[in-house]
């Protein structure tokens, strides 16, 4: 399981980097999909199959489809790729690298004191336990999120009306 975790984690990091640096929008999106699949694999490896499969269904299977759909519709050609190349000049990288480096340092320093009590793959979080948590202690959050989604749905319907 640990081997699977490290393998999937490396795949996620590499494909995310490639998604950022690739200049072709559709190829970049494909790398992002691979990255999401790799994150799902990480979930599987640490014993959360339900979260993993939802990651694939919702992110890789539904949201990214819409992203690819829009990029296909725009049909960006050579001009967009050249523009991307100009935007990805080495000078541009300095600011984001410093900020992400600081965040990375913070993350590592928080996670560093590993006392070995959180071994991966010891406990499996299945759909049942997720459901019990969602509709038990987190019921209010679930309801608020559903109201937010309903608001978005009504707004989208209003915008898409013909008259």
């Amino acid at each position: 399981m640990e081997l699977a975790f490290y393998f999937a984690a490396v795949a996620a990091v590499v494909s995310t980097v490639l998604a950022v640096t690739n200049t072709n929008p559709v190829h970049a999106l494909l790398y992002l999909i691979v990255s999401l699949l790799a994150v799902a694999m990480v979930f599987f490896a640490i014993g959360a199959p339900f979260a993993g499969i939802l990651e694939v269904i919702v992110y890789a299977g539904a949201i990214m489809v819409l992203f690819v759909f829009v990029v296909m519709m725009l049909n960006l050609g050579k001009a967009a790729i050249d523009q991307e190349k100009r935007w990805l000049a080495p000078r541009i990288w300095i600011g984001p690298t410093i900020i992400s480096g600081a965040l990375m340092f913070e993350l590592v320093s928080v996670l560093a004191p590993n006392d070995g009590t959180h071994l991966i793959g010891l406990q499996t979080i299945d759909a049942h336990s997720v459901g019990v948590l969602l509709f038990g202690p987190y019921l209010l959050v679930v309801e608020l999120a559903s109201m937010l989604l309903l608001g978005a749905l009504v707004a989208a319907f209003h915008l898409g009306r013909h008259d």
């Binding site: 072709n24 190829h27 499969i53 890789a60 299977g61 539904a62 759909f69 296909m72 299945d126 759909a127």
Partner: protein, 326 residues
């Protein structure tokens, strides 16, 4: 040192079983190409391919030989990496979904998978990319329109495909395919209690593998061959076989989820499974023979305005019944 410990032997047996299921399924899918053409011919009062072998049964071999020896032509204007990867996604994902199907109580790759049905939804979600990427990378108007149609259709139909099956999951209390079949074997077949779930899931299933009458992504009259217009040789063959693998997959899923899979009186489980699956495969072909293709906006409206509300009502009623009887 004895290499063949009991564990190793068990692993080898399971792998061989998996390979048998995989190749059996691919061969059935390939044979379906001939069966469909023959049966369509019968229903339309003509012969269909009847020259190669007995009653044309070797037509598949002839087609495969031809397709293998064809030049694998990649047009110069396509986006090469995505053009090559699209047919692989089409065939690979659909074949992967067969790990879920419990063919008999003892045959099946991973029917006990805890996330069971959800795995199929994930597969269906990934499968969209085959058509979308095929359509986009071909760099042709027909292909792009086919890809766009496919994306819109899949997103609309996947929304209620999940909801349609949740009734089954609620009654069983598990996502696992084995548990669903066991429940039906001991209680009742889900076609009785989940009739509307069956209807909506069957429609969504046909739309997912974009078979007629939901084959808008490859509507011949207006889009040439749709998303695979620019494909030829083995890459086209992979799209073609993937379509029939999808037919077998959806039939097997319908049988497993709503008709108790291998369960049935008198005969061996495998006989029941094959008979039921063949029935639905024939139904797929009959649909193609009998129905005209709806307009694109009719397909979308049917999905959003009819199937989605029906699936949601079915979900709510099932939830109420399950709560009341608990």
């Amino acid at each position: 040192m004895n290499f063949f410990t009991p564990e190793i032997v068990a692993i080898i047996i399971e792998v061989v079983k998996g390979l048998v299921i995989l190749f059996g399924m691919v061969i059935v899918a390939a044979l379906l190409i001939w069966i469909e053409r023959r049966v369509l011919g019968l229903w339309q009062d003509r012969y269909g391919p009847n020259r190669v072998g007995y009653a044309g049964s070797l037509q598949v071999v002839a087609d495969m030989l031809k397709i293998f020896f064809k030049e694998d032509w990649i047009p110069p204007f396509v986006d090469k990496p995505t053009f090559i990867i699209a047919p692989m996604i089409a065939m690979g994902t659909l074949m992967l979904a067969f790990v879920l199907i419990p063919i008999t109580p003892t045959w099946g790759v991973a029917p006990d998978l805890g996330i069971g049905v959800l795995f199929f939804f994930a597969i269906a979600g990934i499968e969209v990319y085959a058509v979308m990427l095929g359509g986009w990378s071909s760099n042709s108007k027909y292909s792009l329109l086919g890809g766009l149609r496919s994306a819109a259709q899949m997103v609309s139909y996947e929304v209620f495909m999940g909801i349609a099956l949740m009734g089954v999951v609620m009654e069983t209390g598990s996502f696992s395919m084995n548990a669903i079949v066991e429940y039906q074997a001991t209680h009742h077949w889900f076609i009785l209690s989940q009739f509307f779930g069956f209807c909506t899931f069957a429609l969504a299933g046909i739309a997912t593998v974009h078979r007629h009458p939901f084959d808008l992504p490859e509507a011949e009259q207006e889009l040439a061959a749709g998303y695979h217009t620019e494909y030829s040789g083995m890459k086209f063959g992979m799209f073609m076989v993937a379509e029939y693998v999808g037919v077998v997959l959806i039939s097997a899923l319908l049988v497993t989820l709503f008709f108790a899979g291998w369960h049935g009186p008198f005969f061996a489980p495998i006989v029941w499974f094959v008979l039921k699956t063949l029935f639905f495969v024939m139904l797929f072909i009959l649909l193609r023979a009998a129905l005209p293709r709806p307009r694109y906006d009719q397909v979308m409206a049917g999905g959003w305005k009819f199937c989605l509300p029906l699936a949601v009502v079915n979900l709510l009623v099932t939830a109420a019944v399950v709560l009341a009887t608990e």
